[in-house]
């Protein structure tokens, strides 16, 4: 899956989970931009990504991410292994 495909999948998850967010979903997006993206929302988001995209993350990997673009890079790396 290429980067555009990953972004499209993540956008689908974000639109579904954080359904009050109407703004753009770009690589710069972070939890600070989305009111519903709180700690519980983040837990749900991580679980959804793992199940939908068939990847597994570590706690350290998730803690190191600051925006969607970095998450996409991590997913790309895991998918290429």
């Amino acid at each position: 899956m290429n980067r555009i495909g990953i972004l499209a999948q993540l956008e689908g998850l974000i639109r579904d989970l954080f359904d009050e967010y109407q703004g753009p979903v770009t690589e710069d997006l972070s939890a600070h931009d989305v009111e519903q993206w709180d700690s519980l929302g983040n837990v749900q988001f991580v679980v959804l990504i793992e199940k939908t995209m068939d990847v597994r993350f570590s706690t350290e990997e998730m803690a190191s991410l600051s925006n969607l673009g970095e998450l996409m890079t991590l997913i790309e790396r895991k998918k290429s292994l």
């Binding site: 983040n42 837990v43 991580v46 679980v47 793992e50 597994r56």
Partner: protein, 143 residues
């Protein structure tokens, strides 16, 4: 079996049997202030085609709360979501069994997901899903 002495992993399960009594119904009626006839009036329940008053769904969830809070994931967990689909009535005095099985774990999210089914004999009374957040170190990610 209860995984209380080791890490939680996919496939872990626990079964809990319970019987709802008249006293349980009265307590829940008072607690919830739900006096719907289907739960309080056996004549009405009979007219609706049931064999008696139907056990409150909230009492089924109370037993789910027991299983989640005491066994799987246990006392260190925090529930994030539950769903329930009622499939058949449970009547007062009947013994039901609640079986909860872990279907997914996420180390990164600290999440334990499960599916449960409540049965009475060969009747499925209800089923649904649970999500619980647990402290780091409680999950075994080896599926």
């Amino acid at each position: 079996m209860s995984p209380s002495n080791r890490h939680i992993r996919v496939g872990d399960s626990v079964e809990h049997s319970f019987t709802i009594t008249e006293d349980d119904m009265r307590l829940f009626q008072k607690l919830s202030a739900d006096y719907s006839l289907i739960h309080t009036d056996s004549d009405f329940a009979g007219e609706r085609g049931f064999d008696g008053v139907i056990v409150y769904g909230g009492l089924l969830l109370a037993h789910l709360s027991h299983v989640v809070g005491q066994h799987l994931p246990g006392r260190k967990g925090t529930s994030a979501s539950w769903s329930i689909s009622y499939r058949a009535p449970l009547y007062v005095g009947e013994t039901a069994a609640l079986n909860l099985t872990v279907t997914n774990v996420s180390v990164a999210a600290g999440m334990v997901e499960g599916r449960y089914k409540i049965t009475c004999g060969d009747r499925t009374i209800a089923k649904g899903q649970t999500q619980s957040i647990v402290p780091a170190g409680m999950i075994d990610d080896q599926i």
